[in-house]
């Protein structure tokens, strides 16, 4: 009789354990489903959050638009008949990453063109002339850029530089590592007739990231 009771009690415990196991397994499966599923979704590139403290798509779009707006509000000193002709001659990459600064330059010039403020020299024509004269855009000296701009019949030249300063938290007892990444985008519009800088604009951005020092 005592043995029967013990057996019944044992069966009851087993049932309880099985129920708990089913509940735990179901909840793991339900919560873990997303983790094991590949999914793709459309995002607005301007609104999507950032995943890195270094240069990303958000910087490209923000800098392009902000810089184009800032340049559009500046009056170019000498207004020629019609819209002034501008040639983009590269933004120098002075960062620690291999950033495609040509994309930044293209985004700025596209926005300027859409604002209707300037006419642009075709990038292919510019590159062909550079190639004919044995230059690569990134290897041009300032003097070469001016000469190329004049030969292309442009009145204004857009150049610039992108600078990066990175600093990390020092050695200490900690569970996470902090890092600041600062970028400064500086763009100049130079009057090719006078050789003077007509417009100069700067954009700064700082992102602080905190990464764990222990992971899986």
């Amino acid at each position: 009789m005592k043995n029967d009771n013990t057996m019944l009690k044992g069966e009851g415990n087993m049932k309880k354990l099985a129920t708990i196991a089913v509940i735990v397994l179901t909840s793991i499966l339900m919560s873990g489903c997303a983790a094991f599923r590949y999914s793709v979704g459309e995002k607005d590139p301007g609104q999507a959050g950032t995943l890195t403290d270094t240069y990303d798509q958000k910087d490209l779009l923000n800098w392009g638009n902000q810089m184009a707006n800032a340049l559009s509000t500046s009056q170019l000193p000498v207004q020629t008949a019609g819209k002034p002709i501008l040639v983009a001659l590269g933004i120098e990459n002075r960062t620690m990453s291999h950033i495609d600064t040509r994309a930044i330059s293209d985004t700025i010039t596209s926005a300027l063109l859409n604002n209707g403020k300037v006419q642009l020299v075709n990038a292919d024509v510019r590159d062909r002339l550079l190639k004919e004269q044995g230059y690569q855009m990134q290897n041009c000296t300032a003097e070469t850029r001016v000469n190329i701009g004049r030969q292309l019949g442009a009145r204004y030249m857009l150049t610039g530089s992108l600078v990066e300063i990175t600093s990390e938290s020092g050695k200490e007892v900690r569970v996470s590592k902090k890092r600041d990444v600062y970028y400064q985008l500086s763009v100049n519009i130079t009057d090719l007739e006078t050789g003077l800088v007509s417009v100069n604009k700067q954009i700064d951005r700082l992102r602080r990231s905190s990464s764990p020092i222990i992971g899986w």
């Binding site: 990459n93 960062t95 620690m96 291999h98 990066e164 764990p212 020092i213 222990i214 992971g215 899986w216």
Partner: protein, 389 residues
């Protein structure tokens, strides 16, 4: 019956140890084969041996470092850049302490940890990436690498400085017109190079030289020659003293040793000694505790465990082996228009230990020419030391 049990246990024990050692040695064997193929000048075979590299391989960074070097020697500069950038990214991701990747090293050995590369190797990887960009005349990208070199050298946390990498960073800045940053780097190493003084302009001024250069007529240009000297095969104990640069039979100047990678490795090892020693002590204590606990339950199993745990105890000797041993730089005056040079490596007794012809490339306005080469001694076929532009 008992005897059979012991035999089967011993077999299992041997089996486990063999599997563990084989799994550790498998990747080492591929690396060794590729390194031998590389030193024999069989670059294509070496690249094939190092391809593919599984993403979860603990030696992934090392594979990429080695393959990058083979590709650079095979004049596949784009490929070498890609490998080294991937390696830098992978090594950076490993800065995080991984519970799954690093914790086993507390019980087994440091060899099971993912290879991150010593600080000097990670800096030199950036230096060699910059050299590949220079070979492609992509000066702005070379300067990006130079900024990384400077950042790593400024934050090297007591690890040794690398004058060669500093000079190369300075040269990249100079080429890109950033003379202030260049001067700052040159100044850092002004008195660190034996037998020469580095001026603010990057000029390498020999303090004493056995070489008397003939005066050249006409407009003077400069040649910057970046030379990697590897372990010289069939050359006995001969160590290279310097490399002489000739125009035909006329001597133009000589190189100076900026970095001895052997010394960098030694200084790094000494710096890490204390940390590694403490970790080894902790590991041995942990192993002893585990064996002690097992003895209480089963003496035979404890004996197996003891053999297994101590059988797996081994030193982590992984390193980037295709790097040259000595890094030399020559910056000399050359006659305008001269593009091809003859390089002669000599030992301390003045004996020739290697000789080769190299071509140079123009830097921007053609006043400075750049040559990158590697001299590996008489054991190498002539073509192996050269890099095509």
């Amino acid at each position: 019956m008992k005897l059979r049990n012991i035999e089967s246990r011993q077999m299992a024990q041997i089996g486990i140890i063999s599997i563990a050692l084989l799994s550790a040695g498998c990747t080492s064997m591929r690396l060794e084969t590729a390194r031998n193929q590389y030193t024999s000048g069989e670059y294509d075979k070496a690249i094939e041996e190092l391809t593919p590299i599984p993403k979860d391989n603990t030696d992934r960074v090392l594979f990429l470092m080695e393959r990058g070097m083979v590709k650079q020697m095979a004049s596949d500069y784009r490929g070498s850049i890609q490998d080294w950038l991937d390696a830098a990214k992978a090594a950076e991701a490993l800065d995080l302490y991984s519970l799954t990747g690093d914790t086993p090293s507390l019980l087994i050995n440091d060899r099971v940890m993912p290879f991150r590369g010593a600080p000097y190797e990670r800096i030199l990887m950036r230096t060699y990436t910059a050299q590949s960009y220079m070979a492609l005349k992509e000066w702005e990208d070379a300067a990006v690498e130079a900024r990384n070199i400077v950042y790593m050298l400024e934050n090297r946390d007591g690890f040794p400085d690398d004058p060669y990498s500093r000079y190369l960073a300075g040269l990249s800045f100079e080429i890109n017109g950033d003379s202030e940053s260049a001067t700052f780097q040159y100044r850092q190493i002004s008195n660190t190079v034996y037998g020469a003084v580095i001026q603010d302009t990057g000029t390498i001024l020999p303090l004493t030289s056995r070489i008397t250069c003939n005066k050249t007529s006409g407009r003077q240009n400069e040649l910057v020659c970046l030379i990697g000297l590897a372990i010289l095969q069939n050359a006995g104990d001969a160590e290279p003293s310097h490399v002489e640069i000739y125009d035909g039979n006329r001597i133009l100047g000589q190189s100076h040793m900026f970095t001895d990678i052997g010394l960098l490795a030694e200084a790094t090892r000494a710096k890490l000694e204390l940390r590694r020693g403490a970790k080894s002590l902790l590991r041995i204590a942990l192993k002893e505790w585990l064996i002690h606990e097992m003895v209480k339950k089963d003496k035979e199993a404890a004996a197996v465990l003891s053999v297994l745990l101590y059988g797996l105890e081994m030193e982590d000797i992984r390193r980037w082996e295709t790097l040259p041993r000595w890094l030399h730089i020559a910056r000399i005056q050359i006659p305008a228009g001269l593009k091809r040079f003859r390089l002669v490596a000599r030992d301390n007794n003045g004996q020739i230990i290697d000789e080769q012809l190299i071509d140079s490339i123009a830097i921007k306005d053609d006043n400075i020419r750049l040559a990158i080469c590697r001299m590996q001694g008489p054991g190498f076929k002539e073509r192996n030391g050269k890099m095509k532009f």
